[in-house]
């Protein structure tokens, strides 16, 4: 595999109650590339993504074993505070969840909790991150309007700006464009391309076309297991497993 490994997952098993959701998952997420996790609904791809910043802690009756190493630190068994681990990872969910405050404060929130309180600096940084996601021109005259008044596509870009504002090095995205109109989808997708120079991006998707467009590295999951993974070019042109072949051909979804 080309590039350095950012996240390495070893023998990850996750149960919710008696249900075995993730089965012996072992994989490596390359640094500063886009990794796409593919698979049909219910195959555990979202759970795998959320276990990377331990949002799975919020599930009831959850049992996790194995290792998730981020730059050598096992985040499942660590003394490091979980909030500081999460801060290193921006999350973009299926539908955008802006915070219940105005547009400016949505981005400033992350900056404020990481200790930046100077008003001038806040203004500059907020503008910077809104520009980064191509939202500034659309909202610069209405920064004090509720974030909920934006369109869904704008909200998703706002969430991306908010996620970037805490200066993460990893971006986790859970079907980030599935609720968006085609134009916003394209903006978000293109943004991932720009971002991969600086960030490690992990995208969960069930859209094969999207995966083909953006992936550097691909992981295919089925029923909680990783069926196949590899460099995207190799993965899409020359899949090894029968299951992967039929999935890529679109025989099932």
């Amino acid at each position: 595999m080309a590039g350095k490994t950012k996240i390495s997952i070893e023998n990850l098993n996750l149960y919710i109650g008696k249900q075995h959701i993730l089965k012996n998952v072992t994989t490596r997420i390359p640094e500063k590339q886009i990794t796409v996790i593919l698979g049909p609904s219910g195959c555990g791809k979202t759970t795998l993504l959320k276990s990377m910043n331990r949002l799975t802690d919020l599930y009831s009756n959850v049992k996790v074993s194995g290792k998730i190493m981020i730059e050598g630190e096992d985040i499942l068994h660590t003394d490091t505070d979980i909030t500081s681990i999460r801060k290193r990872m921006g999350l973009l969910s299926q539908r955008p969840y802006p915070l219940p405050m105005n547009i400016f404060n949505n981005v400033a929130y992350g900056l404020r909790i990481s200790g930046r309180k100077n008003k001038m600096v806040l203004r500059q940084r907020v503008q910077h991150y809104l520009e980064l996601v191509n939202l500034w021109d659309e909202v610069k005259d209405r920064l004090h309007d509720p974030a909920s008044s934006l369109s869904i596509g704008q909200q998703q870009r706002l969430c991306l700006a908010r996620g970037l504002s805490v200066d993460p090095d990893i971006i986790l995205a859970d079907e980030p464009t599935s609720a968006l109109d085609p134009i916003s989808s394209e903006v978000v997708e293109k943004k991932f391309f720009d971002l991969k120079n600086q960030y490690t991006v992990v995208v969960v998707t069930h859209s094969l076309q999207q995966a083909r467009r953006i992936a550097d590295y691909a992981i295919f999951m089925y029923l909680g297991e990783i069926v196949e993974q590899g460099e995207a070019s190799e993965f899409f042109s020359n899949p090894k497993q029968e299951l992967t072949k039929s999935y890529i051909k679109g025989l099932f979804n």
């Binding site: 919020l58 969840y97 974030a147 986790l172």
Partner: protein, 286 residues
């Protein structure tokens, strides 16, 4: 075709039932307000709300119930404030910190619901017992604490019901930014739930100012203005009760006038809080 007719008839049937039910409720509300106003307005006068009861007030002589108005306002504000101070953290705690401990949270909710259902006279009797134990006499403070106890379950469950509806995605989004759970609670959940929190405050305030049984033994009753937490004080529900049980027609009418005052206070508080929460409400994420 026939099937469609049956479904249309069904639809009509349920619409009529729902319309009737709504009408009955509205009618009952209007009748209550109408009867209070009809009997109370003629007896309502400026002296009623600006004066203390003078000698023989309860036999139809001059004076007013300013002492009871002030007593009730102090009591209800104090109790609502204390219940909010305790209730808000509890509601946030069970929704955020105990998010995954469903069984424990359901147990807590069940207990609170039971506490909600206990009649206020029981809280009054409990408050009275505790007072006796500490050798306190009936006072504004004792009443305030008893009423606080009695409205806490209402406060917590009302806030809780709204926080329950905060989408898990919002919790995940906030935690992913590296917020602690407490930051999530006070910076995000509080704002998202503000309209429900205002409703909880109103519900609790309404119960606090309107309840007679819990203050019967604990605050006592006097004709003086409440000036100290440690002195007994009059309250509106008891003022209504004492006047209503009088055989003198004039005094009875004043009971209705007192009820009008009580209703107006609640109406005023509702309006003020609704308007002041509108600003936050518009930020709510749907």
């Amino acid at each position: 075709m026939n099937r469609l007719k049956i479904r249309k008839a069904e639809e009509l049937f349920f619409r009529v039932i729902m319309f009737l039910a709504t009408s009955v409720i509205l009618l009952a509300l209007c009748m209550i307000i109408f009867s209070i106003l009809r009997k109370g307005l003629p007896a309502l006068s400026w002296s009623m709300i600006s004066q203390l009861p003078k000698g023989g007030f309860y036999f139809g002589k001059e004076g007013g119930i300013l002492n009871a108005i002030m007593g009730s306002v102090y009591l209800a504000f104090g109790a609502t404030f204390l219940a909010f101070l305790i209730g808000l953290p509890v509601a946030l705690y069970i929704n955020i910190h105990l998010h995954k401990r469903k069984k424990l949270v359901n147990g807590i909710r069940f207990m609170l619901d039971v506490m909600w259902g206990i009649p206020s006279i029981v809280y009054g009797a409990f408050g009275f017992t505790v007072m006796l134990y500490f050798g306190m006499r009936s006072s504004l403070l004792a009443g305030m604490l008893t009423v606080t106890l009695f409205i806490i379950p209402i406060m917590i469950r009302a806030i809780d019901e709204v926080l329950k509806t905060v989408p898990t995605g919002l919790l995940e989004a906030t935690l992913s930014l590296g917020s602690t759970k407490s930051e999530t609670a006070y910076k995000v959940y509080f704002k998202q739930g503000i309209s429900g929190i205002v409703t909880a405050l109103l519900l609790s305030f309404g119960r606090a100012i309107g309840d007679a049984a819990s203050v019967l033994f604990t605050t006592g009753y006097t004709d003086n203005m409440p000036t100290s937490l440690l002195q007994p004080t009059a309250t509106l529900p008891l003022a209504i009760f004492f006047q209503l049980s009088s055989p003198i027609a004039e005094v009875k009418e004043r009971a209705y006038a007192s009820a009008v005052i009580l209703t107006l206070i609640i109406l005023f508080i509702s309006l003020v809080s609704r308007i002041s929460s509108r600003h936050y409400h518009k930020h709510k994420i749907k």
